[in-house]
């Protein structure tokens, strides 16, 4: 059975790819992911903002109170160089690229144009075989229109793609007026892959302390519907490699994504919840299903249930919505 796939020109042995997550923070875990059958691995995201924040905090807290009081002109010894920049991250990318035989994909969340380009280059230099741009942007300014947000995405993608020679994927959120159009613009800006969708951290309220809590909860399988639809719609309509992410918890979920048209299926919450070994289970589930349905390769499956391939393309569109509502009403409404 041939599980191999091609993602942005990279030949992968499996479509199952652990997405950017805490599991890529240690080399040992990366090696375990490889052993568990991962086709590639996406490193956790380096956040330009976080780097700046760490640098600022270190500078501020180390110098607070210094040169103020005669007996204590400083409060800390000088340890020389501090890894406040991306060095630690780049070092890990470098070591992982050396040690692993599967491609290591860097992930970057920039803030400034210099940050996007500068860090992208350094991730490439560190040995990453591809780069995922984690464009995490929440437009809160009522004065900013959607067009300018889209332009910003496009500019970032174009700038980074011009700066590096490794393939670049863009991880987007679902909040665009026209996702299909956005995908095309991203492609035209030079990207080779599209990752759908980013799960933005959502705030929650602590009702005891009356405070806003920003914690991350793991995805649930129902969340995969959204990427499933858009993978199915975009498959065959854009030249981008498609990566599905969010809500993929089992091998059967992965099968669905591939049938919709995904070139790779990214997994995160399921591994955090069940451990790295779950990746192998997922692969086995896929293989069982494929054997059952007599599929010989992932390539054969890919897009088999995309919008263009299914008998009722409207299932992915608004008409589908009406049908669901009707079904719902007939099931739950007492006549």
């Amino acid at each position: 059975m041939d599980l191999s796939t091609t993602y942005m020109g990279l030949k992968l042995r499996s479509p199952l790819v652990p997405s950017a997550s805490p599991l890529s923070q240690r080399l040992e875990d990366l090696q375990k992911l490889e052993e568990a059958g991962a086709g590639a691995v996406v490193m956790f995201s380096i956040f330009e903002e976080q780097i700046h924040h760490d640098a600022e905090a270190l500078d501020h807290l180390m110098s607070a109170g210094a040169e103020s009081f005669a007996e204590a002109l400083s409060y800390f010894p000088d340890l020389g160089a501090y890894q406040v920049g991306p060095e630690q991250y780049l070092d890990l990318v470098h070591r992982a690229s050396q040690r692993l035989s599967i491609p290591v994909i860097g992930s970057l969340n920039g803030m400034s144009p210099e940050g996007w380009i500068g860090y992208a280059k350094r991730i490439e230099e560190a040995g990453a075989r591809a780069l995922e741009l984690n464009v995490y942007y929440i437009a809160t300014d009522p004065g900013q229109d959607g067009a300018s947000v889209e332009r910003m995405y496009e500019d970032v993608v174009r700038a980074v793609c011009a700066a590096v020679s490794i393939p670049v994927a863009v991880k987007i959120g679902p909040f665009f007026s026209s996702i299909a159009h956005m995908a095309r613009r991203i492609e035209r800006a030079g990207a080779k892959g599209l990752v759908m969708f980013n799960r933005f951290y959502q705030p929650d309220f602590d009702l005891d302390e009356m405070e806003v809590r920003s914690d991350l909860h793991l995805s649930s399988p129902t969340e995969m519907r959204l990427p499933l639809r858009w993978i199915a719609i975009l498959h065959g309509r854009v030249g981008l490699s498609l990566a599905a992410t969010t809500g993929v918890h089992s091998g059967l979920d992965a099968v669905k994504m591939i049938l919709a048209g995904a070139d790779v299926v990214q997994v995160c919450s399921a591994l955090l919840r069940n451990g790295i070994g779950h990746l192998r289970t997922m692969q086995q589930e896929m293989e069982v299903w494929m054997a059952d349905k007599e599929y010989e390769s992932v390539a054969q499956m890919r897009g088999a249930m995309s919008q263009r391939a299914v008998a009722n393309p409207a299932a992915f569109e608004r008409a589908n919505y009406i049908r669901i509502l009707e079904e719902y009403k007939s099931r739950y409404t007492i006549a």
Binding site: I51, H52, D54, A55, E56, A57, L58, D59, H60, L61, M62, S63, A64, G65, A66, E67, S68, F69, A70, E71, A72, L73, S74, Y75, F76, P77, D78, L79, G80, A81, Y82, Q83, V84, G85, Q88, M210, E211
Partner: protein, 1193 residues
């Protein structure tokens, strides 16, 4: 000067450089102003820097200077090259070992940044009282006068000690030379090697203790031969000066810098000569040059080698024309016939004259004192001394630099005598500690010193406050070496980095006519600033024809992302307008230097500084100066007119920077000062202050409980007390069913607040409509300043709550107990002072406090003002600091007095029982005084007793009157930090606790030596970075509480106010009530932890939750009732240690610099916590069934 060897450094670094290069063992202990030498050595060894033999010296921190000297002694005895660095009391603690080291003819050099020895008061500043106190030990004393000399003579001392076998103290003036930044020439490794012959090192090793060729040393000897043995060393001392001179000559051949035992400079035919040593000699030399140029026949003898004192070399150094000599000593020896150098000079001349070997007529010799505790010593004072020498009957045993209107010792001097050459740029910068001014100026010196041919000098003056402290930077740049070790008196550039200083400091008095004045005009724009200047400032600008530049610097800082740090901005302005360097070149160099300084901390920091530079050049403006002053606003008085006379007449001049002008008569004779003086200072250092929302408030008392500066107070008063309140004075109905009808008021001292916002953090009440708003919120001060001041003044006049009504164990009631510790100079958000304030609220009116040297002695007792204060009856804590190491013993002495005097009083009462009245005597003798009501009743009885005694006319009545006060239960407290309790004072503390006497110890545990800049103590936890533990503290934290518990009869509590305030109060009350020794170990977050101080209380919670800081009380009184004395007040560890630790820079910086080592230590730290919790559980289970944590609330 060899440009390739140019370095910019201060004296401490220069000494440490040679010491680290020429030694194998450095045993160190922090003490100001020498700590930096040890810090450099420690850092260099941590970085792997080697000595000249290619091996990295061992640097070890000891528990005290006595310990350091002992370790050095042992290392020397076994053949290592060993050194130490110290000053002041530290050197005194080394004295016993110094006698031994010298008696055994052991080569070593102790590098000493000479500092005042504490007498009537402590002083961190420089004079020679410490080094003069070791002149009898047998150590040679070699004095350096400048930073270059420090480096040179440090090496000369090292070479000379190896050759002579006489140990050396190499000293230089603390807080002058030690901290003066100068451009000097480095002595490189090859030169050092050429000065230190290997054969001498090997000879030292051959003399070492070695079991392969055993010897016996350190013996006991009897009267029959001790004396002879002592005299046996004479030839070594006789040879020593000659050896030193030959080493100096060798050094001169290597470097071109020539030194002599006594260096004479001045007119070859001088008639008047000053003899002195240390940095003052530079000032005299500069003045001599100026006076010689004016045709005066004067000269100076600079003493290098003070011990052994070569009388021959001294006599030979003087010009044969000499007629009168003034010997200046930078110390005071009360009762002596003269200070030490004076006596040696007199003896040298006298002996030579008596022996007929004086090659000139015996000159007149006078001696004088100058520069005690770093008092300025200027050319004007030098001139006064020379003028005195010209008189037919010059005054002997004079002082210079002060006005002695009591004993008449002082010489008059003309402060307008200034000899600064025109080609020297003299710049003064008035800044805040927090705005980065000093750092930027040090940077400017590096830029100019390293990258141009110019010479540079920097000296920095700090005030003694830790929050909102002011700094004054004195920078000189010029084409010739700068030998002016005194503050600038006439500046051609004056910069004011904070607009508010214009109201507080008369800085333009230093500006010479035509000088440049640069002002950070924020909050005003340069275009509008003129009208906002005080009248005096306007007048000075006009009359001195100053060129006035301004920039809205704080706004630029905010816009550039620099926060409150205007350093880069003001530095850029300096380079843009001072003309020290061509403007373009200067800006380029600033940027290069920014990259060098901040590059390691991340590119963003570099870029924001670059932005600041560019924006500055765009926004700097020259302000047109009108012909006449227009302002109507004058400088406000430094203190209120309502302040007591002593405050107005003595403290106020000190506060306004005119302390030097106070005469001797203004000073108390014995160092005794009044308390309750901080209230007059009104520092107004925070732009943001808390504002109370009376309606929202639930009156819990948390805000006042956590306020480090006692700026938030509560009172509950009858409504009629509020009649006449100023407009808008907030109050609310007191929400308590027991005492209905009262009004609750919260007073906020907005002029004393430091803006830490801990109160807001601690407030539990959020607005229902807007949860970000609490019952107390920070607001901009300026709009509410006038009203807030009026409210506070009215609040103070409201009556205090009767202490008898209060349950002092409850946070809610404690807020009504008046703090007798207020407005200290501690850091913004200090973690220590809330405990001190609580102590003062609970027991202050009957407390005697012994305070170990450290942060608490500085914010508690660094004059001019003190936060310790009094209640409405005038009672309050009486406070003293003895030393660092002896605080427990010092406090025990208080207890012994009280116990004795109480016993003595009781004896007298019993003897006079019938006369005084049996009922009164019995009541006085038997009152338990365990409640506030009982204490009040006892005070009333004593008042009654005093009345009766007043009517009795016999000596015993007078004797009883003198001690009867101790019939009120006294509360003896020993306060100090972990440096004291865990390290230097531990032996004494242990002994005092073991005496079983009723004393109370409060250890404010910041887990480092906070006051001296964060050196590791035995309390420092594993994995935390501290000075002297630059690679992360490898060993675990000492469990002081557990050690004390082992005695069984000591009350021990471990508390953290932020985690459990009620437990803290309980511990204080139980400790004080316990009739025996009590030890409270209090977690204190600290600026040296590298945290956001506003979150200090949260960090305390995490410390407890992680198990790093378990809360417990061990009360032996419970054992008497058959209960387990140990009660664990915190729950089992619920979060990993790293979740607590990595909020703090002291841990995180190691993870950022050496992640693998950080991880290893963090795992061990976790194991420490886990094991200790198990141990406590076992202790709990030892004789009880109660599991640990069962009491957790």
């Amino acid at each position: 000067m060899d440009q390739s060897k140019i370095v910019i450094m201060d004296g401490n670094e220069a000494a440490a450089h040679i010491a680290h290069k020429t030694n194998e063992v450095c045993a160190i202990y922090p003490i100001t102003p020498s700590s930096n030498m040890g810090e450099w050595a420690d850092q260099w060894s941590a970085e792997g820097r080697t000595n000249i033999w290619g091996t990295v010296p061992i640097v070890i921190e000891m528990q005290s200077e006595g310990g350091a000297a002992g370790a050095v002694h042992g290392a020397l005895q076994t053949g290592a090259l060993a050194t130490t660095f110290t000053a002041s009391q530290g050197l005194l603690l080394m004295v016993p070992n110094m006698y031994k080291i010298a008696g055994e003819l052991t080569p070593t050099v102790f590098h000493v940044s000479a500092r005042t020895v504490a007498t009537h008061a402590l002083s961190i500043f420089g004079d020679h009282s410490d080094v003069m106190a070791v002149r009898q030990t047998g150590f040679a004393l070699l004095a350096s006068a400048s930073v270059q000399e420090v480096m040179d003579l440090a090496l000369i001392a090292q070479a000379a000690t190896l050759e002579s076998r006489v140990p050396f103290v190499h000293f230089f003036d603390g807080f002058r030379t030690s901290h003066e930044v100068q451009k000097i020439e480095l002595v490189d490794d090859d030169q050092i090697r050429a000065m230190i012959p290997d054969e001498l090192v090997i000879a030292h090793r051959r003399r070492a203790m070695n079991p392969d060729r055993p010897v016996l040393r350190g013996t006991a000897q009897n009267p029959d031969f001790f004396f002879q043995a002592r005299e046996r060393a004479n030839p070594f001392y006789a040879a020593c000066p000659g050896i030193v001179q030959s080493v100096m000559d060798r050094f001169a051949r290597l470097t071109g810098r020539s030194y002599h035992l006594f260096d004479y400079h001045g007119a070859p035919d001088a008639e008047r000569v000053i003899v002195l040593m240390g940095s003052g000699a530079e000032t005299v030399w500069s003045t001599v040059r100026a006076m010689n140029a004016a045709g005066e026949k004067v000269g100076v003898v600079r003493v290098r080698l003070f011990r052994p004192f070569s009388t021959d070399a001294f006599v030979a150094a003087l010009p044969r024309t000499v007629r009168a000599i003034a010997v200046l000593d930078r110390m005071k020896e009360p009762g002596a016939s003269g200070e030490p150098l004076y006596q040696d000079v007199v003896t040298a001349l006298g002996e030579h004259a008596m022996a007929g070997r004086l090659p000139y007529a015996l000159p007149r010799v006078i001696g004088g004192r100058y520069g005690l505790s770093g008092k300025e010593f200027t050319p004007a004072m030098v001139k006064a001394v020379f003028d005195e020498l010209a008189k037919p009957e010059p005054r002997n045993h004079f002082t210079v630099g002060i006005r002695d209107d009591i004993s008449g010792t002082s010489l008059e001097y003309d402060p307008t005598y200034i000899i600064e050459p025109d080609n020297v740029v003299r710049a003064m910068f008035f800044g805040l500690g927090a705005d980065g001014t000093v750092g930027a100026n040090k940077n400017s010196i590096k830029i100019i010193g390293e990258e141009t041919e110019m010479y540079a000098q920097g000296y920095f003056v700090y005030d003694s406050k830790k929050a909102g402290s002011r700094t004054v930077s004195h920078l000189r740049f010029g084409p010739d070496p700068i030998a002016s070790p005194y503050l600038i008196e006439s500046a051609n550039f004056v910069a004011c980095h904070q607009f508010v200083f214009l109201d507080q400091i008369d800085m333009l008095r230093y500006a010479k006519p035509g000088a440049v004045f640069l002002l950070n005009s924020s909050p005003w724009k340069p275009e509008e600033v003129w009208d906002h200047l005080p009248r005096k400032v306007q007048e000075d600008i006009i009359s001195k024809r100053l060129k006035f530049y301004a920039i809205d610097g704080s706004r630029v800082a905010i816009e550039a992302g620099m926060g409150g740090r205007v350093n880069t901005i003001m530095q850029t302005c300096f380079f843009a307008i001072s003309g020290v360097l061509p403007r373009e070149e200067a800006i380029e160099k600033i940027k290069a230097s920014i990259r060098k300084t901040y590059g390691r901390k991340g590119e963003e920091i570099v870029q924001k500084n670059f932005r600041a530079v560019d924006m500055t050049l765009d926004r700097l403006r020259e302000v047109p100066v009108p012909a006449a002053a227009t302002a109507t606003r004058d400088l406000p008085p430094p203190v209120s007119h309502e302040a007591p006379a002593f405050v107005r007449e003595v403290l106020a001049p000190i506060l306004s920077g005119r302390g030097d002008e106070l005469p001797v008569s203004a000073m108390p004779v014995d160092g005794t000062f009044p308390t309750a003086t901080a209230q007059w200072e009104k520092r107004n250092i925070s732009l943001f202050v808390p504002v109370w929302d009376a309606e929202l408030c639930i009156q819990c008392g948390n805000c006042s409980l956590v306020c480090p500066h006692a700026c938030i107070r509560a009172k509950r008063v009858p409504p009629e007390a509020l009649v006449g309140a100023p407009a808008g004075f907030p109050s609310a109905e007191w929400k308590d069913r027991e005492r209905p009808g009262l009004q609750y008021v919260l007073g906020i001292a907005i002029e004393d607040c430091t803006g830490c916002a801990l109160c807001v953090e601690a407030c539990p009440k959020k607005s229902k409509e807007q949860v970000g708003r609490k019952a107390i919120n920070m607001a901009e001060k300026e709009p509410i300043h006038a009203a807030g001041r009026a409210w506070w003044e009215f609040f103070l006049r409201l009556p205090d709550t009767d202490r008898r009504e209060l349950d002092l164990g409850s946070v809610r009631d404690l807020q009504f107990a008046r703090p007798l510790f207020e407005f200290s100079g501690a850091c913004t958000g200090c973690g220590e002072t809330p405990y001190v304030r609580i102590l003062s609220q609970l027991f202050g009116d009957r407390a005697l406090i012994a305070n170990a040297t450290g942060c608490s002695s500085i914010y508690g007792g660094n004059l001019p003002t003190t936060p310790w204060c009094v209640d409405a009856e005038g009672r309050g804590p009486t406070w003293s600091n003895s030393l660092f190491e002896d605080n427990a013993e010092f406090g025990l002495g208080f207890r012994l007095t009280i116990d004795k005097h109480r016993e003595f009083a009781m004896e007298m009462l019993q003897r006079r029982r019938d006369e005084i009245g049996p009922e009164l005597v019995d009541a006085l003798s038997s009152s338990p005084q365990s409640t506030e009501a009982e204490i009040a009743a006892q005070r009333a009885r004593i008042a009654e007793l005093m009345k009766i005694l007043a009517r009795m006319d016999d000596p015993e009545a007078r004797r009883l009157e003198a001690v009867a006060g101790h019939l009120v239960r006294r509360s003896v407290w020993m306060l100090g930090g972990d440096g004291w309790a865990y390290d230097i004072g531990y032996g004494g503390l242990d002994h005092v606790l073991a005496t079983g006497r009723n004393v109370n110890v409060l250890v404010m545990d910041t887990e480092v030596y906070s006051n001296t800049g964060g050196q590791a103590s035995k309390s420092t936890p594993r994995g935390a970075v501290a000075k002297f533990a630059a690679s992360g503290k490898p060993a675990g934290k000492k469990d002081l509480g557990m050690m004390a518990m082992c005695y069984g009869n000591i009350y021990v509590a471990r508390v953290a106010l932020g985690a459990n305030p009620r437990q803290t109060l309980q511990a204080f009350l139980e400790a004080e009530a316990y009739d025996g020794p009590s030890l409270i170990i209090a977690y204190c977050h600290c600026i040296a932890h590298g945290i956001n101080m506003q979150k200090g209380l949260d960090q305390q919670k995490l410390a407890v939750q992680s198990g790093h800081w378990p809360l417990y009380r061990y009360n032996p009184a419970l054992a008497a009732h058959g209960r387990n004395p140990l009660i664990i007040d915190s729950k089992p560890p619920a979060i990993p240690v790293r979740a607590y630790a990595y909020n703090e820079t002291r841990y995180k910086m190691l993870a950022m610099a050496r992640p693998d080592e950080a991880e290893r230590l963090m795992q061990l730290a976790q194991a420490d916590v886990d094991q200790r919790w198990k141990l406590y559980q076992r202790w709990m289970a030892a004789d009880e069934t109660q599991p640990a944590g069962a009491q957790a609330g």
